[in-house]
């Protein structure tokens, strides 16, 4: 049995897709049956349309990549009026990643998503390293993190997941602060701030100089943070960062994550999510485990 619960959210399995790496799901519909997923977390959505950062936005790194997309998206109104209707009827949890530059923007966006019947949860992204204002700023300071979560909590009445940045001295302090401020769950990690240099051109690869590191390279840091946070908070933890196989997902689950997200690995293999789901079931079968919840947090 692969079912897990994140607050009021029932997932048919603990495998979600990570925001910004899976579009709105539609991009992968040719490769997999989206209804098999535990959930889809769509691209970061902001109060209004955003063009994002200039190209180049991507650099390949050892077992990973840097991105500097900068929250390009059509804005919440376009999501509500158009994208929502195309994906709302999927038989999986469609969750909106809510991003912004100010508390007002977070709240406005969250309020609009709150009205969408078939969106059971939002993931509040207080951790994007690729925007100048707000973004990661909120996620690196417990007081600011608590403030934005507290305000959003007042107007958002379904499952509120808060996504944390790893670029901090103590992720536990931030996690506890957002738990106290009313988060129903935390997801971690967002990307790590990194940089790559094109030594032939003698300049940074990315237009923004620094960007967000993701992929298998960050997995050990992500597992460590999930383990630390899961021990420190009572709300369920969603783990991500570098997951590319069922074994990777199991590392997070055993470290204390109730569910996981898959991001960058979708680029390498657009069917990876299904392989991970099947691999988890295989593991349970092989080890004679009835319920995946038995191994969650076993460490």
């Amino acid at each position: 049995m692969l079912d897990v619960k994140i607050h009021n959210l029932s997932l048919k399995n603990p495998v979600l897709t990570a925001s910004g790496t899976f579009g709105y799901g539609e991009e992968f519909a040719d490769f997999i049956d989206l209804n098999r997923l535990g959930g889809i977390i769509v691209k970061g959505t902001t109060g209004s349309h955003r063009e994002g950062n200039p190209y180049p936005r991507m650099a390949e790194t050892p077992s990973g990549m840097l991105n500097a997309v900068g929250l390009q998206n059509g804005g919440v109104d376009k999501f509500c009026s158009s994208t929502y209707h195309r994906i709302a009827d999927l038989d999986t949890n469609v969750i909106v990643n809510v991003s912004g530059s100010s508390i007002e923007e977070y709240c406005e966006t969250a309020a609009k998503i709150n009205d969408l019947e078939k969106i059971p949860a939002i993931e509040l992204n207080i951790s994007c390293p690729n925007v100048k204002k707000g973004g990661m700023g909120f996620g690196t300071n417990p007081q600011m993190a608590a403030q934005v979560v507290g305000e959003v909590r007042k107007i958002y009445h379904k499952t509120l997941i808060v996504k944390l940045t790893p670029n901090v001295t103590s992720i536990v302090d931030i996690a506890k602060a957002v738990e106290d401020a009313g988060a129903d769950s935390v997801s971690l990690i967002n990307t790590m701030l990194g940089m790559a240099v094109d030594v032939e051109c003698r300049k940074p690869v990315l237009s923004t100089i620094t960007g967000g590191l993701s992929g298998p390279a960050v997995k050990p840091v992500a597992v460590r943070m999930v383990w630390q946070v899961a021990k420190a908070v009572k709300i369920p933890v969603i783990g991500l960062g570098g997951i590319a196989s069922a074994n990777d997902a199991l590392e997070f689950l055993m470290a204390g994550a109730t569910a996981v997200q898959i991001g960058t690995a979708n680029f390498l293999d657009p069917t990876v999510t299904i392989k991970v789901i099947d691999g988890l079931q295989d593991y349970l079968n092989r080890h004679n485990i009835k319920d995946i919840n038995e191994i969650i947090g076993i460490i």
Binding site: T21, E27, D30, Y55, R57, P62, Q72, G215, L268
Partner: protein, 256 residues
């Protein structure tokens, strides 16, 4: 168009000069319909330093044989690894990706240079299957850097322009006499300066014109927004909204 992921077998590999090679890849399944100008995302095996797939245009397609050909220029670690694959090896492809050329016009001109030739062969063939013989104008610094030449002759009239005069006219493609003739559609794929020069010419002369762009990619399917190009209407994904763009939406780009 439905996208696929599948293993192909390397059935042939041929070097074209020092810098180019052509891989012929066979599928065990019948191929879906592929448009000229579309591309594949190929997984690079064995090389520990390559993390992402690499986008490569579809150079030619043989539906009977279930083969796709790729014309690849060796520019870095991934393409070098592909150049060393033995026949019989498996390669995993995500395909067909992108929009492809529109095949408009009764008197089309195809302009290409370097690895930019890659998508033009299948394009020329598709025109000729429609009963139209396109004019093909291929350029490069020297003859050596035009990896595929005679193959185009089956489908259209072919001209060459080389900067050192080692093949065809001496000079740039835009200086070639054939370039000045009248066309109702231009397709370009090549180095950015070549594409911009041709695009400006088309815009000035009101000729419908398509360019095929090559930004670095992560997902190849429009999900990550890493590969954007600035169009006159904002950022668009090269992998999904492109790689082919009409220059009438790229005026700023053409002038920059």
């Amino acid at each position: 168009m439905k996208k696929h992921i599948a293993d192909f077998t390397v059935v042939d590999k041929k070097n074209h000069g020092q810098h180019y090679f052509i891989l012929r890849l066979q599928s065990s399944e019948p191929l879906p319909e592929i448009l000229p100008g579309q591309f594949v995302e190929v997984e690079v095996p064995d090389n520990k330093e390559v993390f992402l797939r690499r986008p490569i245009s579809i150079h030619d397609v043989d539906y009977n044989d279930r083969t796709i050909s790729l014309l690849v220029q060796i520019v870095g670690k991934g393409t070098a690894t592909l150049s060393k694959l033995d026949t019989g090896r498996m390669l995993n492809l995500v395909f067909p990706l992108g929009n492809g050329f529109s095949l408009l016009g009764d008197k089309p001109l195809l302009v290409g240079g370097g690895a930019g030739l890659a998508p033009l062969l299948y394009t020329a063939r598709k025109y000729s299957e429609k009963g139209i013989r396109p004019t093909v104008l291929l350029g490069g610094r020297t003859a050596e850097l035009i990896p595929v030449k005679d193959e185009f002759k089956a489908y259209g009239e072919v001209f060459f322009a080389t900067e050192d005069g080692s093949l065809g006219e001496k000079g740039l493609v835009t200086q070639h006499p054939a370039f000045g003739l009248s066309y109702d559609h231009i397709i370009i794929c090549g180095p950015t300066p070549m594409m911009k020069a041709v695009a400006r010419h088309a815009l000035q002369n009101g000729i419908n014109c398509e360019v095929s762009l090559e930004n670095t990619m992560a997902c190849g399917v429009g999900a990550c927004l890493c590969c954007v190009t600035k169009t006159d209407h904002g950022h668009r994904c090269v992998c999904k909204d492109g790689p082919v763009f009409n220059v009438k939406d790229m005026k700023e780009w053409a002038e920059s």
